[in-house]
């Protein structure tokens, strides 16, 4: 009797596994002779360039000091390190021999030309919702880049994730293939913005929390997530911004990299705003309108607090909150106060009052710590606000005192805990994902 049950269970397991493998198996698509550059319509290539900028393709697919789109950049994840691939049209190292059908399958289904499942660090869970014409434009853009013969390093993932079939299981659980469905009841600008933010810019890839298996949590869109060791603040009603974002302030921020009542983009957001500074306004405005709608209009109470804050900081006679005697006060006075005025809206060099800072008011201290450690600065050869880093000047304990003081002084949110441990972990290179 037991033997028979065991036998049936065994058969069912084998059949199930075979069924899964058959379902997960994807055919290799034929190698395609690299298409001639001149075969692509110039306007389509131009549109592809704009979409690639909005979609930040180059940020992950270009390594520091490397050629554009030649891959190799390591992306730390909780599961190990994934290296972005070469997506230049080099026939050997890149995607030069990919047909448009192979490119579209990668974008829509996360399967490469050879039929291998791609890790969802490549956000095909968003790109699957692209329109046909945008996929076409992106293909035209990529296939007209300079081919580069550089092969990206292999991924460094633990078993069983190093087996590509595990990705098929992940897709079975979390991946919903298909073009974006129109949502009724919105105007054309909102609809356009929702599409660009979701299918192209994949904002939710960082700003939506992920579950233990790395999939975006359903029903928690834009509730705040993480990216490369930074906290990606909530964009919904839980946004920690002391002054609620508006479509106008978001537009200014996304376009120029900073907004007067919010400060400057830092960390993984810095290249995003740099890219959005170079695409048509008509693409950025809808994204701002859509993101502002995610939070919706602020509650009267929240708006009143923001108005009071601006009122207080606009009046230089007013004295700031009293928190003197705290251990971080002297550090703040000597290291920060020259630029970050304690009482006024802006200090020297145009730095914001930290009471306006999202990093200082966020639930997680990661961003505040990283900014104190490494500062904020434009990438080489670019211009923008510059804040020096203090990693060499301050010990873990001193940064803990400073950030603790800043939190108490400039935020009404509860104190952060375990600051020193978090700082040590960041310095040791942990907390990267």
């Amino acid at each position: 009797m037991w033997r028979r049950i065991l036998f049936v269970v065994l058969i069912m397991t084998v059949l199930g596994a075979a069924g899964f493998v058959a379902w997960a198996w994807e055919p290799a698509l034929a190698l395609n002779p690299p298409p001639d550059r001149s075969s692509f319509d110039r306007e389509l290539v131009q549109r592809g360039a704009e979409l690639a900028a909005i979609g930040n393709c180059g940020v992950c697919h270009t390594t520091a000091g490397g050629k554009p789109f030649a891959g190799g950049r390591p992306l730390p994840t909780p599961f190990g390190t994934i290296h972005a691939t070469n997506i230049t049209p080099d026939p050997k190292a890149g995607i030069g021999q990919w047909s448009e059908a192979a490119f579209e399958r990668a974008m829509r289904e996360g399967v490469d030309r050879a039929g291998r499942h791609l890790y969802p660090a490549f956000p095909y869970d968003h790109f699957t919702r692209l329109t046909d014409e945008d996929v076409k434009a992106l293909y035209a853009f990529m296939m007209t880049r300079d081919p580069v013969r550089v092969t990206a390093p292999a991924n460094d993932l633990a078993f069983p994730l190093n087996i590509r079939l595990s990705v098929a299981a992940w897709k079975l659980l979390f991946f919903h293939k298909g073009r974006r469905q129109l949502e009724a009841g919105h105007d054309a600008t909102w609809t356009r913005g929702a599409y660009l933010a979701d299918a192209v810019a994949h904002c939710g890839a960082c700003h939506t929390p992920r579950n233990a298996l790395g999939a975006q949590k359903r029903g928690q869109d834009f509730a705040g997530g993480s990216s490369e060791g930074w906290h990606a603040p909530a964009l919904n009603a839980q946004s920690p911004a002391p002054v609620p974002w508006t479509a106008d302030s978001l537009f200014t921020y996304l376009r120029s990299g900073s907004a007067p009542l919010h400060g400057t983009a830092a960390g993984p957001m810095a290249p995003v705003v740099h890219n959005l500074g170079g695409v048509p306004e008509d693409d950025v405005r809808p994204i701002a309108v859509f993101i502002a709608s995610v939070a919706g209009p602020p509650s009267p109470e929240r708006q009143r607090m923001a108005d009071e804050l601006i009122q207080r900081l606009s009046n230089p006679e007013t004295v700031g909150l009293a928190a003197d005697g705290q251990p971080g006060a002297a550090i703040f006075a000597g290291a920060c106060a020259t630029c970050h005025s304690e009482t006024r809206l802006r200090g020297a060099a145009g730095a914001i009052n930290l009471a306006l800072s999202t990093a200082v008011n966020a639930p997680d201290p990661l961003n505040a710590i990283r900014i104190v450690l490494d500062g904020i600065g434009p990438a080489q050869d670019r211009r923008g606000p510059l804040m020096p880093g203090f990693s060499g000047a301050l010990t873990d304990g001193q940064i803990a005192q400073l950030t603790g003081y800043v939190r108490a002084q400039f935020s009404t949110q509860p104190a952060w805990r375990d600051l020193e441990t978090t700082i040590r972990r960041i310095r040791e290179g942990k907390d990267q994902s």
């Binding site: 000091g65 000597g334 000047a393």
Partner: protein, 164 residues
């Protein structure tokens, strides 16, 4: 009272704990090598070393420096007996107006302590925070390369020598 250890010597400072190190160095200790440029940690003229790291002394209060080793350009050598890095800057005539040079030297010194044989790319990346308005960048690069060569050959012949 805060005890500061500068170039191996200890000093008691009764300045307010929030006072930037630069002011104490220049006004109280008469160490005028580090310069006041912007006062906002943007230009690098005030760069000194703390425990081997280059820092902007204009935005680092003395409150955080108790018990840590501060090195200024005066700690690299004297006018009569310049250190290897200072010698290299003189030999390459790297200074024009000279205002940025102490900061450049201190940041270069911090680099060479960590990496005695930096590539040109690494020297450029390390010195990137320090500004020079005269445009002597190529000479500064040559000076750092020369210092690296001098110091590595000195270390090869006498391992006890090396970067001070």
């Amino acid at each position: 009272m805060i005890t500061l250890t500068v170039n191996g010597r200890t000093h008691q400072s009764d300045a307010d704990p929030s006072t930037p190190l630069l002011y104490v160095l220049r006004d109280d200790l008469a160490l005028n090598g580090a310069k006041f440029g912007c006062g906002l940690g943007q230009c690098g003229a005030c760069t000194v070393m703390v425990n081997g790291e280059a820092i902007y002394s204009c935005v680092v209060p003395i409150a955080v420096l108790e018990g840590r080793a501060i090195t200024t350009v005066e700690g690299l050598g004297t006018a009569d007996n310049p250190g290897a890095l200072q010698r290299a800057f003189i030999d390459e005539q790297a200074a024009q107006c000279g205002y940025c040079i102490p900061g450049m030297m201190m940041r270069a010194h911090a680099l060479l302590q960590k990496n005695p044989t930096p590539s040109d790319e690494q020297i450029r990346a390390a010195l990137q925070p320090n500004l020079c308005r005269c445009g002597t960048h190529m000479r500064i690069l040559r000076a750092v390369r020369r210092a690296a060569q001098t110091l590595t050959s000195a270390t090869a012949t006498n391992p006890k020598e090396g970067v001070r």
